[in-house]
């Protein structure tokens, strides 16, 4: 372990030093950058110029090549050329079909232009009023053009397609000519893209239209003929800015070095301290190191400088918490992760380490009972104080952010919302870690003081803690959370402490306890934090509604007033710049009103507004309007001209079923000689309408998005005058006509004249705010928000719970990897698998449902859109046909005024096309301004005019908003004179609303089902797993030898059958064991008896032989018979001694005599044994002695017994006559004794079994001799083996250690 630490510390230290060295080097280089750049600036600048020029040319060329590629693909299509050779409608149809086959980007256009310069077929918006101007006189075979048309500058690449000069042109916009809002037109700017890329200002200009500044570098782009197509001018960088940008890069790199260096240093420091100290210091150092790294990262703005985007953008979330640690969402999540890890380390150290126990034991022993309560009291106040901080942090999460925490139309939370909920969970876990530690300490101290009454302690300290809550609130004075939240927090903490104690006592192991603690804390954090977030969200919503109400009640909006005045000034200046004033009458031709409008804030910000120009006589000469109806314009203009010039006039429109106010101002226009030449009026509407009639009005500014459930809940605005309702936008939330006196009275007393009431309006539960206008006290503004029912809440909680599950899954994955690294493969028990199975089965339908739900809703809404459009088209067609009888009527009668009148009547905006060009529209200003294309959509032309289809639907775009347009032909006497087009907007909102409703209905209820399924699944898993668990435990007992165990079961299912089978098996096993034991005992006795008999026989044999020898000696009257007698009697006496010893041992414990080891000469023993058999007739003995002499440590008697056995067997094998050879030798440290005979040999199949007990080929004897011999030799640490050859004899080899 120590080596491993050292091995890890060194690389970390090396890493730190490398980072520091690198940072130092970069700092040194940074110092020399200014002088280096200054020296090389001229050379660098010229290199930079040529590089920039190349990049610009390449960028332009790349655009040209893209369009050229499109042209090539289309021009090889023979059907296009073939279509030109046809006549009439088939030709056009074929051409359109061919062109529409090619997928283009939104703003790209393909045009097939005839020799007269008229578009023959097209795909995409038009790029010019007159295409002949684009083609020019005698255009070459291939050309590249850059032309301006209205709002945009276009790049066009053309190619002659046929010999009769049909040209195919591909175009796309390069630049937007006016700085107007994205709301109206999508921004396309090659010059801006190049500016960002080159980090210098690049401007695109058409030659001869504008002149470059003298300081600018001009790069002309020329065509093949040498004509300048377009010019790019570059405002070059100064040396200071170049130095600044390079220094910035180096500073960023230095910051990275410090950021990474801090990690290495912290890691090395932590490991090093862990090596030398085992107490609380390593944990403290770890925590400090974490925060050190965090602070260094913050200081170095890491990783904010790498990850540019919403994560580190303070517009989403920002709070000036200490050291900027939560200055953005990204900083906040890093801080929360650091906090969670720190508190977890603190928690594990105190709870799972003996240090905590020691601290408590020391403290507990020093205090008396009263002291214990004081400590508990202090702990309670402390943790409530921390909880207060937690509440404040949650408040900041909500109020200091613009994050939409919950989009009801989405199944899952989006990125920002998910991260914020993660922050809440991490903060809650940190809170619970700290509170649990301190409460656990308090509890332990109480246990020391009251050791015997566990239940009493529990009740005592829980009640004590709960009583501290109101006390703390009283001390605090301004509580930041409700009593219920604090109560819940204390409850969770207490439950955690109790759980910890239980797990500790059950000895389930530290890893398992840690895992359970983490799960409990995450769930507790969810249950504590998320409802508090919801409470705060509701408060935020109320605050926002109050702001809107205040704005509505104000006589005017500061900003809008300023915008109008500023617009007036800008327009007048624009007039002086743009025109010699006597040309004001030419204004309409040049779209002067629109041009001036684009220069004002109205155009840049995208407000619904109008600019009107009048000549000296007061006649209107030009007007640009967007988003304002004629009656609105007329009303405000009347007011404006009744008042003074250059001052803003305001009309409230609450009586007109719309909200907000109209602003207007006018001013006289004078030329440079101060001569009056005309006047100008600027109008602005506070509504946030788009371009389609009957759009629901909303407040102009951004709160429209901030109401959490705005697409699913109705928000209605009301106004009361003298307690009488004069206006309401609500369709279903229209209150009673008269304001109740109760509300009036409460409003009188309400602070700041704002009153919130929960009210029931037309059967709907609402939250309604009332605000009295302080400038006009009889006016009361009111806003009602429909309350959403419980299914929306459930749906929200379900989505937020997924974040919780995600955290648990991440922690589980981490634990799994850690355990796998330690070689402990975690396993999922049967209960866990069962539970997981239930959860998956419950969750799977969710995924399927969410997919199909979205598809279904989109399809349904699309169907509704088409049905509505078709109906509206039919209505208008019928109406138009009542007015026009011939083509002349159509041409003269269907004009803008006609369209506007019908549009008001039917509340439908529409346009009429004739010959593929716009003829009239209820929104004509949009076409004149170029915001909408005046050419009929190519597919619509094909379908309605050429194909004569009665209905065609397509999607189009204005700005970034996509909408659907329905087309239908207008026929007179069977011939098509024009095309009617009706746009429909705002369906996305309908789709979202429908989706949200479905989601809430389905998934809100599903949340309940999911919860029940989880709980039910858990209970079922427990129930099913219990008998298996009992079986497992029983099997474990059986394996340890306990056969008395039985599994209780009453069920009749498979588990019951298994349990009963198990019981039966164990019973049989028990019986069988008992029999086996008995049998073994018997066998043991038999064995022993056999061995005893054998051992007894061993000494009896020499006795018998000796007596036989004596008898023979006396019979033969051998001369040495006396000597023989002496020797034999001694032998007999010795063997009788042996017998006696055996008997004594056996009588004492029925066991064989213990071995008596002694040093003996093996040769002497062998010789002694051989001598016992020398008298046997027909057997000769050869004894070869070992050299040198071999001394071994052995039991003489046992070894003799072995030799006797072998020799006896040899003698028996020889039968009539033979030789027995005995030899001893020494090989290294092994004594080898070989006893061979010249008998017939032992067959192989018998030889392998001769050492088995009870194996014998003889009729007499019990077959134990060689078995016992083997046992004896093995007891001596040696081996015995037998080799034999048929007909030649058998050799026994004994090897004994020396």
């Amino acid at each position: 372990m120590r080596d491993r630490i050292i091995r890890n510390v060194r690389p970390a230290l090396w890493g730190f030093f490398v980072c520091v060295a690198l940072a130092g080097a970069l700092c040194a280089i940074r110092i020399f950058i200014p002088s280096y750049i200054s020296h090389r600036w001229d050379a660098e600048r010229s290199i930079r110029r040529s590089q920039n020029e190349q990049i610009i040319r390449n960028a332009f060329q790349s655009r040209v090549e893209q369009l050229t590629e499109i042209l090539e693909n289309v021009s090889v299509d023979t059907s296009l050329a073939a279509s030109i050779n046809l006549n009439g409608v088939p030709a056009a149809l074929k051409a359109f079909h061919t062109l529409n086959f090619y997928r283009l980007h939104d703003d790209q256009t393909l045009d097939l232009v005839d020799p007269q310069g008229n578009p023959f077929a097209w795909n995409g918006p038009s790029i010019a009023h007159r295409y002949a101007e684009v083609l020019g006189q005698n255009p070459p075979e291939q050309f590249v053009r850059v032309t301006q048309n209205g709002l945009r500058t276009y790049l066009t690449v053309g190619r002659c397609l046929t010999s009769d000069k049909y040209y195919l042109m591909a175009s796309e916009p390069l630049e937007l000519n006016s700085p107007i809002s994205n709301r109206f037109v999508q921004k396309v700017s090659l010059s801006e893209d190049l500016s960002q890329k080159l980090k210098v200002k690049v401007t695109l200009r058409i030659p001869q239209t504008t002149q470059p500044n003298q300081e600018e570098l001009v790069i002309p782009i020329v065509d093949r003929e040498g004509n300048t197509i377009v010019e790019f001018s570059i405002e070059e960088k100064t040396i200071e800015s170049e130095i600044a940008s390079i220094v910035e890069v180096y500073s960023m790199l230095i910051g990275f070095c410090f950021a990474f260096g801090s990690i290495f240093l912290a890691y090395a420091g932590t490991l090093w301290i862990a090596r030398i100290r085992k107490d609380w210091i390593p944990t403290a150092v770890s925590i400090l190191s974490l925060w050190l790294v965090r602070l260094v990262w913050r200081e170095m703005e890491f990783p904010a400088t790498i990850i540019n985007g919403w994560l580190f953008n303070p517009n989403l979330y920002a709070s000036p918490f200490v050291f900027g640690l939560s200055s953005s969402l990204g900083e906040l999540i890093l801080s929360m992760v650091t906090l969670a890890i720190s508190t977890w380390l603190f928690f594990t150290h105190m709870i799972f380490n003996t240090q905590g126990e020691e601290v408590i034991a020391r403290l507990g022993s020093r205090v008396k009972r009263i002291g214990a309560f004081i400590i508990l009291f202090v702990i309670a106040l402390f943790i409530l104080w921390i909880f207060r901080g937690f509440s404040e942090a949650l408040r900041s999460f909500v109020f200091d952010s613009t994050i939409r925490f919950n989009n009801p139309s989405e199944i899952l939370l989006d990125g920002t919302s998910a991260i914020m909920h993660l922050n809440v969970l991490l903060l809650g876990v940190s809170l619970l870690c700290v509170s649990t530690v301190f409460l656990w300490m308090g509890r332990k101290i109480l246990s020391i003081q009251f050791p015997s009454s566990e239940l009493k302690i529990r009740i005592l300290y829980i009640v004590f803690l709960l009583l501290c809550i109101p006390l703390f609130s009283w001390i605090d004075g301004t509580p930041q959370s409700q009593f219920f939240n604090a109560f819940l927090f204390i409850t969770f903490s207490v439950v955690l402490v109790e759980l910890l104690s239980r797990w500790d006592n059950s000895k389930i192991g530290v890893p398992s306890t840690k895992w359970r603690t983490v799960v409990s804390m995450v769930l507790g954090s969810f249950l504590l934090g998320v409802p508090m977030i919801h409470q705060r969200l509701q408060q935020r919503e109320c605050r926002e509604v109050e702001v809107v109400a205040k704005e509505l009640s104000r006589p005017s909006d500061n900003w809008l007033t300023y915008v109008v005045l500023d617009g007036i000034r800008t327009s007048v200046e624009g007039l002086k710049d743009e025109f010699i004033t006597n040309d004001i009458a030419e204004a309409k031709k040049t779209n002067l009103a629109f041009v001036l409008w684009t220069k004002t804030l109205l155009g840049k910000e995208g407000y619904n507004s109008a600019l009107v120009l009048y000549d000296q006589k007061g006649d209107e000469v030009d007007r640009f309007v967007v988003g304002m109806s004629k009656p609105e314009q007329q009303e405000i203009l009347t007011r404006v001209f009744e008042g003074e010039e250059n001052s803003v006039h305001i009309i409230g429109r609450t009586g007109q079923k719309t909200l907000g106010k109209l602003y207007g101002a006018w001013i006289t226009v004078r030329d440079s000689n101060e001569k009056f030449v005309g006047s100008l009026a600027l109008l602005l509407s506070e509504h946030q309408k788009t371009f389609i009639h009957d759009q629901e009005t909303e407040p102009l500014r951004q709160f429209g998005d901030r109401f959490e459930n705005d697409i699913v809940r109705e928000i209605a605005f009301h106004e009361f005058q003298m307690d009488t309702l004069i206006f309401s936008t609500g369709s279903k939330l229209t209150p009673d006509r008269f304001l109740s006196s109760t509300i009036e009275a409460e409003l009188q007393k309400a602070p700041n004249a704002i009153l919130w009431k929960d009210m029931r309006i037309n059967g709907y539960e609402t939250q309604t705010v009332f605000l009295r206008d302080m400038n006009s006290p009889e006016k009361i503004v009111s806003i009602s928000l429909e309350r959403l029912d419980v299914r929306w809440e459930l749906f929200s909680y379900l989505k937020e719970f997924f974040i919780c599950l995600g955290v648990l899954a991440a922690v589980g994955m981490y634990a799994f990897i850690r355990r796998r690294d330690r070689g402990v493969l975690p396993t999922l028990g049967f209960k866990g698998k069962l539970f997981l199975g239930f959860a998956c089965i419950t969750l799977l339908p969710l995924a399927v449902l969410s997919y199909y739900n979205k598809q279904l809703v989109a399809e349904r809404v699309q169907e509704q859109v088409e049905t509505t459009l078709y109906r509206e088209l039919s209505q208008l067609q019928d109406r138009i046909s009542t007015y026009i009888t011939d083509e002349e009527d159509f041409v003269l009668g269907v004009d803008d005024d006609f369209c506007e009148a019908l549009a008001s009547e039917y509340s439908i905006d529409f346009s009429v096309y004739r010959n593929a060009s716009i003829q009239a529209s209820s929104r004509s200003e949009l076409y004149r301004a170029g915001l909408l294309d005046g050419r009929l959509n190519g597919e619509a032309f094909t379908s309605s005019v050429l194909g004569r289809k009665s209905y065609f639907l397509t999607k189009e775009k204005i700005g970034s908003v996509e909408y659907a347009v329905g087309y239908a032909p207008i026929s007179i006497a069977g011939s098509i004179v024009g095309v009617l087009a009706i746009p429909t907007l705002n369906r996305e909102k309908e789709i979202e609303s429908e989706l949200a409703q479905r989601n809430a209905y389905v998934f809100g209820a599903y949340a309940i089902v999911f919860g029940i399924a989880l709980v039910g699944g858990g209970l079922l898993a427990l129930r099913f797993a219990r008998p298996l668990r009992l079986l497992t435990l029983a099997a474990k007992d059986v394996s340890e030898g306990n056969l008395a165990v039985r599994v209780e079961t009453h069920s009749r299912d498979e588990i019951g059958i298994l349990a009963r089978s198990f019981n039966e098996m164990v019973f049989k096993l028990q019986k069988s064991r008992e029999e086996l034991s008995k049998h073994e005992r018997e066998s043991a006795w038999k064995e022993m008896a056999k061995q005893v008999a054998h051992e007894i026989r061993n000494p009896l044999t020499p006795i018998k032989l000796s007596i036989q020898h004596v008898r023979q000696a006396f019979k033969d009257k051998a001369p040495d018979r006396e000597e023989i007698l002496q020797r034999v009697t001694q032998t007999v006496i010795d063997q009788i001694e042996v017998l006696s010893r055996i008997a004594s041992e056996f009588s004492s414990f029925a066991k064989m005599p213990e071995s008596k080891f002694e040093r003996l000469n093996i040769d002497d023993l062998l010789k002694e044994t051989i001598n016992l058999f020398r008298e046997i007739q027909g057997v000769s003995f050869i004894h070869t002695l070992a050299s040198p002499m071999v001394m071994i440590v052995a039991d003489r008697d046992q070894l003799r017994g072995v030799f006797i056995n072998i020799i006896r067997n040899a003698i028996q094998a020889i039968q009539k006559a033979g030789t027995i050879t005995a030899e001893t030798s020494l090989e290294k440290h092994t004594c080898i004794i070989k006893i061979s005979d010249t008998g017939p040999g032992i067959p192989e199949e018998i030889r392998t079994r001769i050492f088995e007990p009870n194996f014998s080929t003889k009729t007499e004897g019990m077959g134990l001799g060689l078995a016992i011999a083997r046992r004896v030799i093995e007891d001596h640490g040696g081996t015995i083996s037998c080799s034999s050859e048929r007909g030649k004899g058998t050799t026994f080899e004994i090897r004994l250690p020396v």
Partner: protein, 155 residues
Amino acid sequence: MKWFLVILLMSFISEAQVKTQPVTIQADDTLVTPSVHSVVQRSPIAEIFQNVEHGLQNNAVDKFKKELGEIVSMTISSGDHGYYSANQAVLVLVGYFSERRLVSFKFSRIHEKDSAPYATGRFIYVQKGMQKSAQVYVSLTQQDSQWVISQFNIY
């Protein structure tokens, strides 16, 4: 060492105890909570505009952050717009101005007379080596009988 860590922990926790209503933000970027019954004295209109002007001239948002109202409507030329809390508005402005090196700024027009005082001026700056300009618009409203900044637009 132990006591040092305890003190550090306590100081961290104290930082979390913030009140936001009403809020006084001091120059060291910490939120402090005045006592419940005290009323923050707000500057008259001209002084507020003066503070804003000085703050922008010195790239120091903290010179006028105490003048921000509880909710501030902001529209920034970088594309961000919306209603922000005072805390958030401070950091949005700090972030915006930190990326732009000031060349000059002055309020060219200050309108104090009616119930909707505002000031506007040209802000000239250098960003990524290029000199640009923007118009700053600040308007005030009454909150708890005091004038506070309710709108801050840069366009």
